[in-house]
């Protein structure tokens, strides 16, 4: 179990983390979600030991590891830009963690190669062990990076925006595959992302960060349907703010014939199985987004419709 207690970290005068508490159970897949500057990457790096907190404690299974250097924490870390060793073959990259072990614990060259091939099979890169990283695609490189991190058999796998540098299709494939790998290997994984869709799709639990503090911790379902703060409501998922601090999702608005909010439609387009209607709340400059079943007729651009929330979060308190 990973336990983070009251972690504070300043960079110059900027408070990257202002007292963060977080508990992560064995086998969990947790997303740290937030905009840039929210402290999510700093938190991940503090857990890894790549950054040291100003105050607070990091515990692995109850043991304080705050002063333990990164090389002794035994965590697997995957970097956004892969950070592969360019001058080494793929197999040597993967087995690097084994080859730097102390003499007595170091597997032989042959064992290392076997282990590397095994891991490459696991990440579906069989037979590419003798290539150099420069000869692989972005998605392949990130899988090499993952295999390299897994070679040291970490209890904890940390991923810093692992799919950030990849294109949409590759990213989607890798996500699903990472999820499988996580359960298959019984890992505890924490990944950082600014992509709420990625967080909701992959994680068991989502930790939403903003300005160095945790806004909400919950399952993807909780974070999406019961946002704890206005920030979470607007950052996770699409969101319209109606008068009175009412946050409502596009699919939680319906068109009514009696009463409701008047909206002037200024754009309609198809978004998958629905019409996405964008308009302005009449007499204001509040953008309203609304999804309408594509089986129905779409309203004309320029027309005025009336909408009413079916379900909403109210933050006027």
């Amino acid at each position: 179990m990973i336990s983070v207690e009251n972690i504070r970290k300043q960079f110059g005068g900027f408070a990257a983390l202002g007292g963060v508490d977080l508990q992560i159970a064995k086998g969990e897949f947790v997303a740290l979600l937030g905009p840039s500057g929210s402290g999510k990457t700093t938190l991940l790096r503090v857990i890894a030991g790549l950054e040291f907190q100003d105050s607070g404690v990091v515990r692995f299974d109850g043991e304080d590891v705050s002063d333990r250097p990164v090389a002794e924490r035994g965590v697997g870390f995957v970097f956004q830009h892969y950070a592969l060793f360019r001058h080494m073959k793929v197999a040597d990259n993967v087995s690097f963690g084994l080859s730097v072990r102390k003499r007595g614990e170091r597997p032989s060259a042959r064992e290392r190669r076997e282990r590397a091939d095994e891991l490459l099979r696991l990440v579906h890169l069989e037979g590419l062990g003798d290539r150099y990283p420069a000869q692989l695609s972005g998605g392949q490189r990130q899988r090499v990076a993952l295999a390299r991190a897994l070679a040291i058999q970490p209890q904890l796998l940390l991923l810093d925006e692992p799919f950030g540098a990849l294109d949409a299709k590759v990213r989607k494939d890798l996500r699903r595959w990472l999820r499988e790998l996580h359960s298959q290997m019984g890992l505890t994984s924490i990944f950082v992302t600014h992509d709420q869709e990625e967080a909701l799709e992959l994680a068991d639990r989502v930790v939403v960060l903003n300005k160095g503090a945790i806004e909400q911790i919950g399952t993807p379902e909780q974070v999406y349907t019961q946002p704890a703060t206005p920030f979470v409501a607007s950052f996770v998922g699409e969101n319209t703010v109606l008068p009175g601090g009412v946050h409502v999702r596009p699919h939680d608005l319906e068109i009514t014939t009696d009463g409701g909010h008047a909206v002037v439609v200024d754009n309609v387009f198809r978004k998958g199985g629905v019409w996405r209607i964008e308009g302005m709340l009449q007499g204001t400059d509040t953008l309203v987004e609304l999804d309408l079943d594509a089986a129905q007729a779409a309203p004309e651009t320029g027309s005025t419709i009336h909408v009413r929330p079916i379900r909403a979060s109210n933050f006027t308190g």
Binding site: A83, V100, Y132, A149, A151
Partner: protein
């Protein structure tokens, strides 16, 4: 019926101008480097092999080569080690006066070499600031090969720093962090990850320091003492020959130096081609 004329496919390149720029390069290299060097060979060619060997490979000349190439290599090695440290500090850390340090690194290039030679001699002479510390220990620096090496280290300092710096910057911190997360010690990270990555640039820096050191004259003659057979460098020997109007002798020594230097530089270049191919760049 006639078919439309078929134009021969023209090779097109998005980066045009190879022919022109290659032509200019070849011409330029010829005027600046090859033709002057060729005259040296021409001059020595009419000597005849026996006379050439008698002068170019005389015991005195051999001593001078040994000294020149030996001290240049030693200076290259020392600069390779400390140049990497300096480059490292300049790339990886931010500190007050960083720009100033960066400018100091280039100073040896800007200074007239004779000035450097006189300054170094003053400091390392037995009664100089640093020389007097070593003199009681029986270590003489000025007027020995040690002094020559120090002068060559001084004038060659910028080469390694400036060739390694951009490669280190490009290497990125995350690669070092990756090595650390995998359990590598600082030394393992350096020797297994950083050193191989900067290796080609380091070798370039070494080669430049070496080449500069072999030909260096101005800064060395003051600190060398110029004792025949022990601190007489090859370039000085050439000048001595010239002063005695022995042009044949001077060119013979020059040819030998040229051939050795060219061989070393070519070897270093070839080894880099091999390593670059491996990195797939």
């Amino acid at each position: 019926m006639t078919s439309p004329p078929v134009r021969p496919p023209r090779r097109r390149n998005v980066i045009p101008g190879f022919g022109l720029t290659f032509g200019i390069s070849a011409l330029w290299l010829s005027i600046i480097v090859l033709i002057p060097l060729a005259t040296i060979f021409l001059r020595s060619a009419h000597m005849g092999l026996e006379q050439f060997i008698a002068v170019g490979l005389s015991p005195r000349a051999l001593e001078a080569y040994r000294l020149s190439f030996g001290t240049a290599a030693a200076a290259g090695v020392v600069n390779a080690i400390f140049g990497v440290v300096v480059a490292w500090v300049l790339v990886r850390y931010d500190f007050i006066g960083k720009r100033l340090v960066g400018a100091i690194v280039d100073l040896p290039f800007a200074l007239p070499t004779a000035v450097a030679g006189i300054a170094l001699t003053a400091i390392y002479a037995p009664n100089g600031w640093i020389g007097q510390l070593f003199d009681p220990l029986g270590i003489r620096i000025a007027f020995t090969p040690i002094g020559i090496t120090i002068a060559l280290i001084f004038i060659g300092l910028p080469f390694v720093v400036r060739s390694v710096e951009p490669v280190l910057a490009d290497l990125g911190r995350d690669v070092e962090e990756a090595a650390a997360t995998l359990g590598a010690s600082r030394w393992q990270t350096f020797s297994r990850v950083i050193l191989p990555a900067i290796g080609p640039a380091l070798l370039t820096g070494f080669a430049l320091t070496f080449a500069r050191g072999v030909g260096e004259y101005g800064s060395v003659i003051f600190i060398a003492g110029n004792i025949q057979g022990s601190t007489e460098i090859a370039p000085l020997l050439i000048v001595t020959q010239l002063e005695q109007y022995n042009y044949d002798g001077a060119t013979a020594i020059a040819v030998v130096m040229l051939l050795v230097s060219f061989g070393v530089l070519l070897g270093i270049n070839l080894s880099q081609v091999a390593s670059r191919r491996r990195m797939g760049a």
